[in-house]
């Protein structure tokens, strides 16, 4: 039988269940994942030699990523309760803390993004500044340097994408989050968002074909990763099984299956597979759904994770 637990405490943000993170953290994780995906795509394009010719995506993604990352960090800043002490993040390195790793990784992301941008900047920027044009010409003339920048972009991109998941999975008190799969899941979702964005905005048929193929592979992989995530929880301890039930009949069942799985992955995947086979035309609806699904994934995982608890077996009354 279920024990009944009556607690006299009613602390703000803690009771009746933990709700310390609102919209800011899912937005931050989504934007961070998207930037990670952009960095992987950019690096992949550079290693494939696309920097030697006009590539709308290669010119757009690094600059866009600078804006997205700054917005993500603004969301994170808005979430802090002791805002004016934020500089404390950069007076120490706490190797056991994923958030400390993340804050230093974010500092590495900016210079790498600027370097990738300079390899193939938008034409407008080259026209405006002779210095930029000179740097670009120098970089493009040195294949090895472009290669190093491309690899660096991919490595830092993977670190950033995985970090957005590890940030949650390291918090063992929340059984839903306590899975190493979250790092891979959020990285895959970030790559999917980046590919979907590329699919959405590029005017190059070649780039559209490439990004939609990448997105389809990653979306299918995401389904597999999500299945492993749920199976891992169901095979775990009682609190983890309780956590999985949040998505399997519990209060997060509809948001998870409708917005994350249905509208965020399965339906756009079907639409994009039909488009690749030329049965229907490419539509902007599918990539928009993929990107919205990526945000929904973070929102659902962050919200449901806070509800999951080690003492879930007990009926808690506050």
């Amino acid at each position: 039988m279920t024990p009944e637990l009556f607690i006299t405490r009613h602390n703000h943000l803690i009771d009746p269940f933990v709700h310390v993170w609102a919209w800011q953290i899912p937005v931050y994780l989504f934007l961070g994942g998207w930037v990670a995906g952009n960095m992987l795509l950019t690096g992949y394009f550079m290693l494939g030699g696309r920097h030697t010719r006009r590539s709308p995506l290669l010119s757009a993604l690094p600059g866009l990523s600078l804006v997205l990352l700054s917005l993500g960090m603004l969301a994170l800043f808005l979430d802090l309760e002791h805002k004016w002490y934020v500089w404390r993040l950069y007076t120490t390195f706490e190797w056991t803390s994923p958030m400390s790793w993340g804050s230093w990784i974010l500092l590495l992301v900016y210079p790498v993004l600027v370097l990738t941008w300079l390899v193939r900047p938008p034409i407008v920027l080259e026209d405006l500044s002779q210095t930029v044009e000179r740097i670009t010409t120098t970089l493009q003339g040195r294949r090895e340097i472009v290669r190093i920048i491309g690899v660096g972009s991919m490595v830092i991109g993977v670190a950033l994408g995985v970090y957005t998941g590890v940030l949650l999975s390291s918090l063992g008190a929340r059984p839903l989050w306590n899975s190493g799969i979250l790092g891979v899941l959020f990285l895959a979702s970030g790559v999917s968002a980046a590919a979907a964005f590329g699919h959405l905005v590029t005017h190059s048929p070649d780039e559209r074909a490439l990004t939609v193929r990448i997105d389809n592979v990653v979306l299918a992989s995401e389904l597999g990763i999500l299945a492993l995530f749920l199976l891992g929880l169901l095979a775990g301890s009682a609190p983890q099984v309780e956590a999985a039930r949040l998505f399997l009949g519990g209060p997060y069942t509809a948001p998870f299956w409708v917005f994350v799985i249905g509208l965020g992955i399965v339906i756009p995947l079907v639409i994009q597979l039909l488009a690749v086979r030329h049965w229907i035309q490419h539509t902007p609806i599918a990539p928009i759904m993929v990107m919205a699904g990526g945000l929904a994934l973070r929102w659902v995982i962050v919200s449901a994770g806070q509800v999951s608890h080690w003492a879930h077996g007990a009926m808690r009354i506050h």
């Binding site: 009556f6 979430d79 008190a173």
Partner: protein, 179 residues
């Protein structure tokens, strides 16, 4: 170096909340927040019911997840008594420690930093017991050094069955409840 902990006799605790009031007064805990609280856990089916009343607080764990997740080192294991404490002016209020605590023992102080029970470190340094211990009318608390085999708490734990909260969470809590 001492390793302070607490044993609380669940046969003596009546849930009077004197410990809660003493803590709020001693530590000027803001209105609407609690560093310690009472939990009433009832198991069984009527008429075979069993109720345990517990005075709960931060468990000052030997393996504290709030410390390992802290990005600035504000949450730390203090050299004095191995107590888990927060340096207010190093805390950025990221709330990772709140999410990492399986006991939900922390909260955000209205001034913005993470706050929780300190086991009244300021009193213990002066040789006094924590406020909750000193006011308990049923004397259900035993406070002391778990590493000293002759301390009252070590002797109590050697003589009675006791359980910590959520041992499966792996945090190695130092607050024990005597059965």
């Amino acid at each position: 170096m001492a390793r302070y902990g607490m044993a609380i006799d669940t046969r003596l605790c009546v849930g009077c909340m004197d410990c809660v009031v003493a803590c709020k007064t001693e530590n000027r805990v803001p209105e609407g927040f609690n560093r310690d609280w009472i939990a009433y856990e009832t198991v069984g089916t009527f008429p075979t019911l069993h109720q345990e009343i517990r005075s709960e607080r931060c468990n000052h764990c030997d393996n504290p997840p709030c410390v390992t997740c802290c990005p600035t080192g504000a949450s730390h294991v203090d050299q004095f008594g191995n107590l888990v404490l927060v340096t207010h002016e190093e805390c950025i209020g990221c709330k990772a420690c709140l999410a990492s605590c399986p006991y939900d023992a922390r909260f955000i102080h209205p001034e913005g930093y993470a706050d929780k029970c300190t086991l009244c470190v300021h009193r213990v340094k002066e040789g006094l017991d924590p406020a909750c211990v000193s006011v308990c009318p049923t004397h259900c608390f035993t406070f002391g050094d778990l590493d000293d085999p002759d301390s009252a708490i070590s002797r109590k734990l050697a003589s009675r069955q006791a359980h910590p909260l959520l041992p499966a969470a792996g945090t190695k809590p130092r607050i024990y409840y005597l059965d």
